[in-house]
Symmetry: C2
Subunit: 543 residues, 2 copies
Amino acid sequence: MLGLMQDKPLLVSSLLVHAERFHPESEIVSCTCEGPVVRLSYRTMAERVRRLARALVSLGVTPGDRVATMAWNTHRHMELYFAVSGIGAVLHTVNPRLFPEQIEYILNHAESRALFFDITFASAVANLRDKLPAVENMIALTDAEHAAGMPESALIYEELLAEQSAEPYNWPQFDERTASSLCYTSGTTGNPKGVLYSHRSTVLHSSMACQVDGLQLNRRDTTLLAVPLFHVNAWGIPYASALCGAGLVLPGPKLDGKSLFDLAVAERCTFSLGVPTVWLGFLKYIDEDADADPAMLSLERVMIGGSAAPRAIIKTFDEMGVHTIQAWGMTETSPVATVCNLLPRHAELAGEGKYDVQVLQGRPVYGVDIRVVNDDGEALPFDGETPGDLQVRGPWVTSGYFRGEGGDVLDRDGWFSTGDVATIDPDGYVRITDRSKDVIKSGGEWISSIDLENAAVSHPAVVEAAVIGRPHPKWQERPLLIVVGKDGAEVTKDAILDHLKPLVASWWLPDDVVFVDDLPHTATGKLQKMKLREQFKDYELPA
Amino acid sequence: MLGLMQDKPLLVSSLLVHAERFHPESEIVSCTCEGPVVRLSYRTMAERVRRLARALVSLGVTPGDRVATMAWNTHRHMELYFAVSGIGAVLHTVNPRLFPEQIEYILNHAESRALFFDITFASAVANLRDKLPAVENMIALTDAEHAAGMPESALIYEELLAEQSAEPYNWPQFDERTASSLCYTSGTTGNPKGVLYSHRSTVLHSSMACQVDGLQLNRRDTTLLAVPLFHVNAWGIPYASALCGAGLVLPGPKLDGKSLFDLAVAERCTFSLGVPTVWLGFLKYIDEDADADPAMLSLERVMIGGSAAPRAIIKTFDEMGVHTIQAWGMTETSPVATVCNLLPRHAELAGEGKYDVQVLQGRPVYGVDIRVVNDDGEALPFDGETPGDLQVRGPWVTSGYFRGEGGDVLDRDGWFSTGDVATIDPDGYVRITDRSKDVIKSGGEWISSIDLENAAVSHPAVVEAAVIGRPHPKWQERPLLIVVGKDGAEVTKDAILDHLKPLVASWWLPDDVVFVDDLPHTATGKLQKMKLREQFKDYELPA
Ligand SMILES: Nc1ncnc2c1ncn2[C@@H]1O[C@H](COP(=O)(O)OP(=O)(O)OP(=O)(O)O)[C@@H](O)[C@H]1O
Ligand SMILES: Nc1ncnc2c1ncn2[C@@H]1O[C@H](COP(=O)(O)OP(=O)(O)OP(=O)(O)O)[C@@H](O)[C@H]1O
Ligand SMILES: [Mg+2]
Ligand SMILES: [Mg+2]
């Protein structure tokens, strides 16, 4: 027997409709590639989104079509979020920092029919033009005034909008499981793979983001979106902001420390999200610039994800009165799966004791189930000690990659293997100890490369560190620590090993430490160990 | 094109499964009808729920069957919430305070096949026994020790559980639109009507309750559940608590001021919910008892709904450092539809200015759309001034009553008419001015009976007030104010009218004031104006 409740699909369009009706004055502040800062409200944005929806339809975009973007965090990019999914098409955000060949691969793999791009990418797009047979329309995200230098065939976003009406739009109502957006994984461990979100998964994930035990996003927030709109839907924040009416500040192309700091101060941002690299830049700027006083900030909390949140960042923020929320997730999990919120019994913790909890990747929010398994697929205990392959399932977890890449990715109980190695403690806190491909197997036991890296960067003269396994005649594999030192700081292998000794088990101590000028990163700022292993393939550990 | 996200139905069973896995230690503290206080965790409750699920199946309960309860707020009643819905049957909570004929009507209308009852209702149930042809099993919510005095044929809850295994249970997975529970309206304006919730509506509503802009329920809460489990699923809190792992304190049969106060103090409750009547009793106890010091409370916020939250309650709580969240809703809306949270621009408000906002019924949360319409069904502006019929729609709003009562209740755009008269302001704040059946039409203009009642109870000597319309030769209808005075206080008609003069428009002033010892209430504590109009049907206004 079915219940007698209204049959309302959870659609992306309903988020903006709600925001326009009930949060019309909440503000979206956008830096642009052209320079000026643009201020909109959900009311004015909703009007523009309706124009855009009509423009898309008039360009021949139909339900299911992929519409690609190569764009920074601006209001126009956000408008595409709502208009493209709103008409039933699929928003395909492409990371413009990828290599041209990767971009070409992804756009062709997705068969995107239209490509919206920021003017900063005009020449990149012009070069790609002939290699993208599926793309019928290229639209520059700008106005007539700034159209000079755009590829000849490109349409101009603001012109398209101006041609259309902002009148009420009958957003189509359809099955909430319909695809809404497409995002490719970062390509840290191989070729990027497409994850196809649905309206349902997007709305459920947004609802979680607004929960107290989620990301606490709420009507009183003004969020500085330091995570790109092309990085897993900016962690769902554009949708969740519309859901609860939170204000949004979009930094445009500039994610450097000074730009973010100035924006956070000027717009009194209360919340922000980004990968560790972004926060390193932010905190470095505050540290080094005499004018940048953290007391000028209104920040209450920052969310860090994408890679492990370094303890040093958590501590520095804490000392500034800013609470760090670490979260773990993947492109495949929309992305937020676990969030490191504190339990009642942590209420009295302060300083190091609190950081001990905050460095964990967090606990699953409702909607996400997790477990760790051994090589035989048997579930391991939640004891905080036994590492295993982390698996996940739930309504915003992928059931397979776009166009069948990678084949069947779920086991028969619906578990998705994340490729991360983790422990889970009795409260459900996850600790990611490694990627399964990066784990170092020494004499049959596992050494966590992440733990070693964290210990290394806690040395004041170390900026970044990477640990990879190298073949060893007796132990099969032993760790090699590769370090980027601070400018001007003198530091030796022995100093670093001495620093590590009290922090890790003695048999974890790296067999060697090498110094480099920089480490290879992916387009989303992650350590590219694949490349590092390649670089060091001829290196031999000291005997 | 469908997205590639996992197909996980939103089921009530998944809430408890999540709580057991990730909040195993959160506590449920339950007063019982037998006397002792019982303490469980989600882990132990989940074990008992599995036993109960097996017991239900062994009693022959099948998917879709209604299973009725007549019970207070105890752990056993909460276990039924999860077990009954978990196996795909429908939990039908009956308000035991209704008249026996109403209970009989409702149980027969629902055709409930089993009836679980608290020992306090043993004789009521025994008397009903022969009038309930559909009921096959009656189960006393107690153990063998307390089985004396139970109807002969009654089974004993704890015995049933003891016979079953607590082993892992394969909760059936089914369409999330399946009916999960059934609750009848309060019967304030006519016969109670059945509202049939689904698993989907229940989980979506729970998710809202955990949002910052919802009820802010979270893992750090210990909630004193002062709203009965038979009153619209206790406003969804049992489900939402499992979702986020909040602790729950169940007061059993005692909802008097002292019992609630003692419990809130002993269990350090941070949150509580109830109708205004309950809070009046609670605050009266604190006011009158020298031992009851509000400083002993850990309460951070209370939610008030079911009837308008009186300003005096909001103020008294505020002075105790407790924040009041008013919410508006109906049995038909699961029930929470609008929540009175403050906007950023209210941040600086304190005292009366803040109460001016808190007395409003709140703004819709995402998932709920509202509007007010005139008699022709045309939408009225959100101007905070123009009253109209309040309509609502969304995934946790009813699409029709159980067994077709009342026929088609939605208009062609899916709007449900609430029977409430309201204004909506530009921010979306709803102000309920009346029930449409209670509105007083004087010379073509509407007088709000609720506003007049609120103004009257702000007089220190007035305990409760009701306003009804009486026929008038010139103005069609004029207001009559009916007042319950404070014990021992001397107060006259003129004193009350003088008090009202500065508070309401002069043409709203009641034509007469009558004093009574008490006013008629429904089983959920609401003013029964239907009955009052009946009582005063021969009364004539002074010329
Ligand atoms: N808080 C965190 N702590 C540690 N690692 C994290 C955290 N958040 C995310 N990660 C890592 O990022 C991964 C998800 O990243 P993403 O989906 O962007 O692509 P990728 O895994 O880096 O690339 P690819 O799957 O293409 O190799 C996780 O599997 C995990 O390894
Ligand atoms: N915060 C509030 N302020 C004012 N009125 C409220 C509030 N919350 C609920 N109500 C009133 O309660 C009604 C819903 O109550 P409920 O569903 O329990 O049954 P009822 O309407 O009293 O009974 P019936 O529908 O059987 O006549 C609303 O329609 C509204 O009139
Ligand atoms: Mg990955
Ligand atoms: Mg009603």
